[in-house]
Structures are given as C-alpha cells and as structure tokens.
C-alpha cells in the first residue's frame, strides 16, 4: 500500500525526540485550555495558534495535532464534571456524563470518554489514511464548477444545520462572506471594502476573525451576564472503569465511531448530528434503559466516540479537498494558509511529507492523550476552579497576544475588538458564529472558483451545471433548502421530543445533512445551563412559520 509507506515516513518524521516533545506539549496545552469552561476546541485551537507562528511547518502541525485532540478531550472533561459543553458537539456527552458524575461515577464517565475517544481517534485516523488518497484521486479531476457547487453545499449545509433559525444562520454567513471580501481582489487588483486603509489591503486575517468571534465575543458576552456564584464542580479521582463498564462501553464506542466518521467528512456542521444519533441509538439498544436519564455509561461512550470520529472525518475533507466542515477544521485551514500552504487536492502531492507527519502525529497525540489523561483527570478537574475574573482576563490577554502576533500591527487589535463586538451582538441575538467563520474562509475561494468556471464557459451560466457531479450537488442543495416546506406540509403538527426529532430529521435524509433546522432541538453553543432533560422543548420552535 502506498498510503502505508507514506504513513511510515510520516512516523519517521514525527517520532524524533524534538517532535515527540512538541506532540506532548500540544496534548497537555490543548487539554489544559480545552478543560477551561466556556472554551471549546475551536477557541482553544485559535488561541493556541500563535504558539506555532515561530516554528517550522512540520513542528507546528505536530503541535497542532496534539492541541486538536487534547482540546477535544478537555472539552468532554468539562462537560462531564461541570455540565458546560464548550461546543455544541459536546452537548450530548454532557447529558448522561454529568448525571453519571452527579451519581458518584465521575471516574467511570471520564474513563469511558477517554478510552472511547482513543478508540474512535485510532479508527478514525486509520480511515483517514485510506480514504484521503482515494478522495484526492477523485478530486484532482473535478473542475472549478464542481468546486463551486461543493462550497455552496458547505455554506448551505453548515448554515441550515447549526442553530435554530435559518434566517439568522444565513445572516451570519453573509456577514462572514462580507468580511472575506475585504482586501485586494487578486484577479483584478481592485481594492474592495478597504476604505483607503493600507493595512486592510491584504484582507483581514482569518486568525484574527476566529479569535475575535470566539474569544473576544465570548468574553464580552459572559462579562455582560457573569454569574456571581461559584459553579458546582464534582470532584473526581483517577479515571478508571470496571470490567462490567468496559463490556457495556465497547459496542457504543464502535457504533459511535461508525456514525461519527462519515458525518464528519460531509459538510453537515460537524459533530452535532452524529452525537445525537449515537445517543438515540444507544438509548434504543441498551440493556439498561432505566439508567438513561440517570447517568447511563452507554450515553457517554457512544456520543464521545462519535464526536472524536467525526473530528477525524472532518480532517479527510480538509486535507483532501481543502474544505473545512467544522469550525475547528476552519481554524486549522487558516493555519495552513498562514504557512503559505495552499489547501486543496494537490496538498497531499505537494506537501506530502508534511501531511503524513501530521497524520502520524495524530496517532501519537491520540495515544499520549490516553496515557496522560487517565491518571491526570483530578488535576484537570482542579483547573475548572479557576476564578472567573482570571479565566476571562486570561482569554482576553492571550487573544490580544495572538492577534497582535499575526502581523505585529496595532490595527489588528482594533479589528479584533470590532469583530469581537460583532460576536457579542451575534450571541445576544442568537446568530450562530460558525457560518460566519466558514464564510470568511471559503468565501474568497468560492468566488475564485466561480469566476474560473465562468471564464471557462465564457460567461455562460450553464457552465456552472455542465457536469453530473455539479448537478447532483445542486439537487442536494435544493433538497436541503426546501426541507422546511416538506416538513411543514407533511410532518406538521407532530410533536416530538427534541432528541427523537433530531434522529428522525437526520435519518429521513439518509446520510445527507438533515436540513430541517427548525425541526431539530436548539443546541445552544454553550450548552444548557442546568441539567438538560431530553424532553426539554425549545419554546419558540415554530418561530419562522407564519
């Protein structure tokens, strides 16, 4: 196998003492930052990105791989012990995980999450090794029109899946696309939206946008509504599990992995849907249905594995097509661009050594994570007690440092604040943040592909739909967009619990992103404050219907 020998070369690069040290550092820092409440994987990755600026690309991506998996694991620790999912993908883990912790089984919940993440990460990364080259082979032959269609699909799917209101999702996307316009248009040399400010000619750095929307927006939002009482943290010992827990966990791990990986690889908003699906599946298949709602280990094992597998799946699309399907992947893509590496199907060919070293370090990081985190769980739990003023002051501190470090110019700090205020407004009025990030990153590239496609067709719009692939993709997009109509006339009036609704909504489309945004439960980006009950209904479910 070609892929295997490439992977072995990757290991040869990644397994030098220096690079192992970087992987260790990444895992520890990633977990430490990811554990902090309110900080999800994408904010961790964005905040720690400046660490890599001074390194050579290989070391930087090895560090990054560790940060990525570390922050995901840190996030699930927070969900379980504090019921504060840092990101919507961890919401489901929090449901049963926090109940387990409250019932005195925190160690077991953390263990099944850690080992489940490891298993899913291992299988997911292995699948990445074999699927990425296949997708690349397919992708090098598709044209500009197809690329444009795929990117439009990513826009529509991410926007329809996240949050509860499509209008607000598309508003967020349009804001992101607008930010992406700023700078010199590379094809005509014209300045767009620069207002004569020379520093804007190069565009607004994606890192600055991501840090602003995630870190600054979040800090200002929390500052406006800071809870003035210490949170309840459940103490924990070392993470461990009995043989019985293990026998109840391994099937959910594998099923979760099977659900998570394909969903991660398609542009459907990351891990939200597969984690919900995994939860519902485990609830149906369990031999202990009475434990669901009181802390069932299957309800932690499945979704957590699903979450990690979907992270690995999103790397397939990111590495093979240059297409981010989750906020974290979007930030990583920004990091690639920061090193002058052009994402896309040629990445594996041009930067093969780098990519395979990155993949190898994903395996290494995943293993380090397991070795470190089972014994270190009590230490991570202590980080949850960080006083809130220090926590958010620290976020502001490192966000400023990172934004300044991008170009070493003060104007980036002003842009950071302005976009941060935008992030504040978006949180206040329920505009999801992720479509904006995807818009900033993919917008300019979608424009490039569109213009290329129309150049080839000499301005004929039919040039956009002249390949079977593009036509299929546009049909899928139409289905996603028209789903609410189907929903309104066919499924109207059926009242279901949100989890069931999520499952049905997702299953009906048979693997395609479930487009009925209104039909799905609102998944608050920061999770429910109090114990989420599966029967909790969003009060304004029908808000977009007349």
């Amino acid at each position: 196998m070609d892929a295997l020998s490439d992977l072995l070369n990757g290991f040869a690069t990644a397994l030098t003492p220096v690079n192992i040290a970087y992987a260790c550092m990444g895992v520890i820092l990633g977990t430490a930052i990811g554990v902090l409440p309110g900080i999800g994987p994408s904010m961790s990755v964005a905040l720690l990105l400046p660490l890599t600026f001074g390194l050579d690309p290989t070391a930087a991506f090895i560090l990054f791989a560790g940060i990525y998996y570390g922050s995901m694991y840190g996030g699930s620790t927070t969900s379980i012990l504090l019921n504060t999912p840092g990101e919507s993908s961890a919401v489901v883990t929090a449901i049963e995980g926090n109940l387990m912790a409250k019932g005195g089984r925190a160690s077991q919940a953390l263990a099944t999450a850690a080992i489940g993440s490891f298993v899913a990460g291992l299988i997911g990364t292995a699948l990445l090794v074999f699927t990425a080259p296949i997708i690349v082979e397919f992708a090098v032959n598709i044209g500009a029109a197809d690329y444009f269609a795929i990117m439009v699909l990513a826009f529509v799917a991410v926007t329809s899946v996240l949050g509860s209101s499509r209008i607000r999702g598309f508003a967020s996307l349009a804001i992101g696309l607008m930010i992406g316009l700023v700078g010199i248009d590379l094809q005509s040399g014209q300045q767009r939206l620069t207002f004569g400010i020379p520093q804007l000619a190069d565009g607004i750095d994606v890192v600055v946008v991501a840090v602003a929307l995630f870190a600054i927006g979040e800090t200002l939002w929390v500052a406006a509504h800071l809870r003035r009482r210490p949170p309840d943290i459940i103490p924990t010992g070392r993470a461990w599990m009995s043989r019985q827990d293990l026998s109840r966990s391994w099937k959910p791990w594998l099923r979760g992995t099977g659900l998570g990986f394909p969903f991660g690889a398609i542009p459907a908003g990351g891990a939200e849907i597969p984690t919900f699906l995994s939860y519902v599946t485990e609830k149906r298949l369990t031999k202990h249905p009475e434990e669901f709602g009181r802390g069932a280990i299957e309800g932690v094992a499945g979704p957590e594995a699903s979450n990690n597998a979907s992270a690995a799946g999103s790397l397939v699309t990111m590495l093979a097509l240059g297409l981010p399907t989750s906020a974290t992947a979007a930030v990583m893509l920004a990091a690639f661009q920061g090193f002058g590496i052009q994402p896309g199907p040629l990445l594996l060919e041009r930067e093969g050594d780098l990519v395979w070293a990155l993949i190898a370090s994903l395996f290494i990081g995943n293993t380090l994570l397991l070795v470190l985190n089972l014994p270190l769980a009590p230490l991570w739990a202590k980080l949850l007690k960080t006083p809130r003023p220090y926590l958010y002051a620290g976020i502001l501190f490192f966000a400023s440092l990172g934004a300044y470090a991008v170009n070493a110019q003060t104007i980036d700090l002003i842009i950071l604040l302005v976009i941060g205020l935008l992030g504040f407004m978006m949180r206040r009025y329920g505009l999801p943040v992720v479509p904006a990030i995807i818009g900033v990153i993919l917008g300019p590239r979608a424009e490039l592909q569109l213009r290329r496609a129309l150049q080839i067709s000499n301005g004929e719009l039919s040039g956009l739909v002249d390949s079977p692939l593009a036509i299929i993709i546009y049909v899928v997009i139409l289905l996603v967009l028209l789903w609410p109509l189907v929903n309104r006339f066919v499924l109207r009036g059926r009242r279901r619990g949100p989890l069931e609704a999520a499952a049905v909504g997702a299953r009906d489309t048979d693997g395609a992103p479930p487009p009925g945004a209104e039909d799905r439960p609102r998944v608050p980006a920061d999770g429910p404050a109090e114990g989420p009950s599966p029967d909790e209904r969003p009060p304004d479910r029908d808000r977009e219907r007349p």
Binding site: S164, R227, P389, S400, L417, R543
Partner: protein
C-alpha cells in the same frame, strides 16, 4: 401609532436588521466606487460578488425584520458562567473594553510586558477581582512569562517597548 410603538417594544433585535441592511448598503456603495474600466480578466468582474452579497444582506435584513415583527426572536447564548436572569451588566463590559483599549494604546509605547499586564489586571478588575496583591502579581508574571516564551523562545514579534535590552 401606539400600536406601532407597542409592536416595537422589546424588539431591539430590529437593530440587527438595521445593522445588516447597513452592511449591505456599505458593500453596494463600495462596489459602486470600484472602477470597472481596468483590464478585466474573465467575464466576472471584481464587483459582481460584492453586489450579490450586498443584496443578500439587505434581503436577509428584510426577512429577519419580518420574522421579528411576527414574534420570532433569536435565543441568546447560554452557558454555565452566563446568568440571563439579570439585565446586561454594561458597566463590566465597558470597563473590560477600556482595559482592552489601554493595551491597544500602550503596546507599542511601553511594550507587551507592561501593556499586557495592565490588560490582564484591568480585565480581572472589571470582572470583579479586587485582590490588590495577587492580581498585579499574576498579571505581571503572566505578561513577562508570555514575553519570554513567545518572543524569546518561539520568535514571535512582541514589542519589548521601554524594557528593550533589560529583558
């Protein structure tokens, strides 16, 4: 008129619509300023996409306004540290922004070790921390440490400012 006033009450979300429409208008205005006479490569010029995005922003503003007037509202984000039962605490937010701007103003004059520390201390103060020994100690410790690690070890361009040559 009173019915209009009633309908507008508690609908600050309409401000978002105004904001979106304003952005749309801005993008369209900017596109109208771009000269199209220069050599153009391909049938699509530099203004086509901005015009599309500008129109989309305005259409979305109208759709959102319709949704809001019909009683829809965006759900504010929740979280463990967020307590939505109180009104927004603007004092904290403004103090936090002030601390942030202190750093912006001083970073190139005094350097990161000092301006960063003031940022941290100011932000912690804004968020309610009043320990006048521990707060500055942590603030200066963090900013000096971050300067040493980032600027010295990792080669990231942070300004040393007035401490140039000392640390």
């Amino acid at each position: 008129m009173s019915s209009l006033a009633q309908r507008l009450r508690g609908r600050s979300e309409l401000g978002v619509c105004v904001f979106l429409a304003g952005l749309g208008a801005l993008v369209l205005w900017d596109a109208s300023q771009t000269s199209r006479n220069l050599v153009q490569r391909g049938p699509v010029g530099p203004t086509a996409i901005p015009i599309g995005i500008g129109i989309a922003l305005i259409v979305l503003a109208v759709l959102l306004a319709r949704d809001v007037l019909r009683g829809g509202h965006g759900e504010s984000e929740t979280g463990e540290d967020v307590d939505l039962s109180h009104p927004s605490d603007w004092r904290t937010v403004l103090l936090l922004i002030a601390a942030y701007l202190v750093n912006v103003a001083l970073i190139e004059r005094l350097g990161w070790p000092i301006s960063g520390a003031l940022l941290f201390w100011g932000a912690a103060y804004a968020l309610g921390s009043r320990n006048f020994v521990r707060d500055p100690l942590i603030a200066f410790g963090l900013s000096f440490l971050s300067y040493v690690v980032f600027a010295r070890q990792l080669g990231i361009g942070l300004p040393p400012g007035i401490l140039e040559g000392i640390i």
